[in-house]
């Protein structure tokens, strides 16, 4: 066992492993950069960096062809940690190296945590509009909403991924099962008379029978969206209620009654509700005088707490709360979320805020600070040592020089 442990340590401690891993990461970044043309930035992150292995499909089989970001990063982390434990001694003289390497470890851990827990959303707000939710730019959900109560809606949100998996979904708040009959990750919708070659629709309820859903290739381009189309069948205890076509392209909800309650189905961008609401008071888009070159975008917003049941979101555009100005490089941080000024629309009447939830957002800053301090400390140690030697030097060389001249 002792021998095995030694082998384990020697493998992870070796500088050769470090160099190999760094070379592998260079190759990985290079390949990913080239592939970004085809996959876009999100696709590349998923395929190359947020993966243990880079997989390539051979026929229907995914085959690992190269270590992915998680694997290389994980080994680098293990390499760094074991090297620290086994090689470096905990002395004041090595403080700088400890700090710099500690920062590096923090950076690696921070990136891993960001990849795993960071969530990105967007919030579009028209001037005067109030919202207490942000919407995903990439993911969709099917909202099955019980609208019977005039005061509030009860929502069951089913992620698109769960619909794609196809397994029947039964939720305690729904008196029926939701079964995916057909799923297209990206589809265009056409009125049936405009699409003479479309096959028969599986939909029997709502607007589906009038619409042809035509599958199109999945897009990875950053400026394009995939618009899924799903045929879902709702099955109650007494049998099927029918099959509906749902898609974010259908803007409006589809309503029906069942079990004495009113329901609506909406496929929409995945929402993340927050316990406060934002009201856009004013969006400002300044340009340099006499040009169209943007100088500044800013959104003045009011933040109001949302009470139980989310009352503020409905009518919270009035007074109360606090105001904040969001502009480039000055995001609003509140409630664990960061709101960045991302874009605008509608002739400067709509602002688009990027909403990021990343509990590990501080780690890269701490890591960089630790690396900087570590390098400064290390440099100062060397500088001080060098200066001391230099100060001691003038006394010492004289006898040596004298000796050198005398000896022959």
């Amino acid at each position: 066992m002792g021998n095995l442990l030694r082998q384990f340590r020697d493998f992870f401690v070796s500088l050769r492993l470090t160099v190999t891993l760094l070379v592998l990461s260079i190759v990985l970044v290079f390949a990913a950069t080239l592939d970004q043309v085809h996959l876009g930035v999100w696709g590349v992150q998923e395929k190359y960096f947020h993966a243990l292995f880079v997989m390539v499909r051979v026929g229907d089989l995914p085959v690992p062809v190269f270590p992915g970001g998680y694997l290389i990063g994980g080994f680098l982390l293990a390499n760094l940690l074991t090297a620290h434990l086994c090689r470096l001694k905990l002395t004041w003289r090595k403080l700088g190296i400890w700090l710099a390497h500690g920062g590096l470890i923090l950076l690696l851990v921070g990136e891993l945590l960001s990849g795993l827990v960071q969530q990105d959303y967007q919030m579009r707000l028209d001037t005067g509009e109030t919202k207490n939710y942000a919407e995903s730019d990439r993911f969709n959900e099917l909202a099955v909403t019980d609208t019977t109560n005039p005061a509030f809606d009860d929502v069951v949100a089913i992620p698109e991924q769960r619909l794609a998996e196809g397994a029947p979904l039964q939720h305690p708040k729904l008196p029926f099962r939701v079964v995916t009959k057909l799923y297209y990750p990206n589809a265009a919708l056409e009125r049936r008379e405009q699409a003479p070659n479309a096959g028969p629709s599986p939909a029997t309820q709502g607007i589906g029978p009038m619409i042809a859903a035509l599958p199109i290739p999945v897009t990875y381009k950053p400026d394009e969206h995939n618009e899924p189309a799903v045929f879902v069948e709702l099955i109650g205890p007494d049998g099927s209620l029918g099959t509906w076509l749902v898609s974010p392209l259908l803007g409006m909800p589809q309503r029906f009654s069942y079990a004495g309650r009113e329901w609506k189905l909406t496929m929409r961008a995945t929402r993340r509700y927050q316990p406060f609401a934002l009201t856009l008071l004013k969006f400002t888009h300044d340009v340099y005088p006499g040009t169209d070159i943007p100088k500044n975008f800013s959104s003045r917003v009011r933040i109001t707490e949302v009470g139980a049941g989310g009352a503020a979101a409905a009518g919270g555009a009035g007074a109360g709360g606090r105001e904040a100005l969001i502009y480039m490089n000055n995001p609003l941080r509140t409630g664990g979320l960061t709101f960045y000024q991302a874009s605008f629309d509608n002739d400067d009447r709509t602002t688009v805020l990027q909403v990021v939830r990343n509990p590990s957002w501080l780690l890269p800053y701490l890591a960089c600070a630790a690396i900087t301090v570590g390098l400064i400390v290390q440099f100062l140690f060397h500088l001080v040592g060098f200066a001391r030697k230099r100060r001691a030097a003038p006394a010492a060389p004289a006898p040596a020089a004298a000796a050198a001249t005398v000896t022959p």
Binding site: L4, Q7, F8, F11, F12, H50, L52, Y70, L71, G74, F75, A78, L112, L116, V117, F152, D153, D154, V155, V156, A157, P159, Q161, R162, H171, K173, A188, E190, R191, Q194, A195, P196, N197, G199, P200, Q205, G206, I207, M210, I211, L214, P215, I216, H225, E227, P248, L249, L250, G251, M252, P253, Q254, R255, F256, G309, G310, A311, A313, A314, D347
Partner: protein
Amino acid sequence: MTARASVFLAAAALLLSACGRDEVTSYRVPKEADPVMPGAAPAADASSAPLAPMAADAGGAPGMGAAAAGATMANTAVPTANGPSLVWSAPAAWRTKSGSAMRKGSYAVPGPGGAEADLSITAFPGDVGGDLANVNRWRGQVQLPPLGPAELEGAVARFQSNGLTVTVVDLTGAGAANRQSILGAIVPVSGSTWFFKLMGPTAVVAAAKPAFLEFLRSVKAP
């Protein structure tokens, strides 16, 4: 030992990555207004939206205002095939129609007694289900029963023209009055499938068959 270390690290990463699985959630929210019907919105708003939604409040507006929906449909992404477009020359007697976003080409084909048949040319990525599914879809449109896989070859004619393989099917509709027929052609072109469908009263389609076949022979990749 190296292998053991790899397995350990891989397992740790897998466990960590399994944390983020999407779950079904439920919550209560205040009532919110449905989106404004796109047709009612000012034109500037509708055009600046990333993808204009379609009116779909099937319960509230069963008729789904055709004009409004039609107008927004024009803004949706069109699922026609990418890649090279085919070109063709149509007989002078055929009247070019304005077509739709879906169609690559659209003609009114005149026949005896002033009746007209409709020729639509569309293209989609992939094989769109294959020849059998498409022939059976067309058969369904003229009230014919579907064919089995073994019957397909007997029902279609294939020929090569300008380097393209053209699969032609002649479907005379069932029923006595108002009989409709389809003359269809399926042409695979570099990963896409092009459909040429002449549909109309049986007499018009039958009379236009020689011209249609001649037209098909003019189809070529640019």
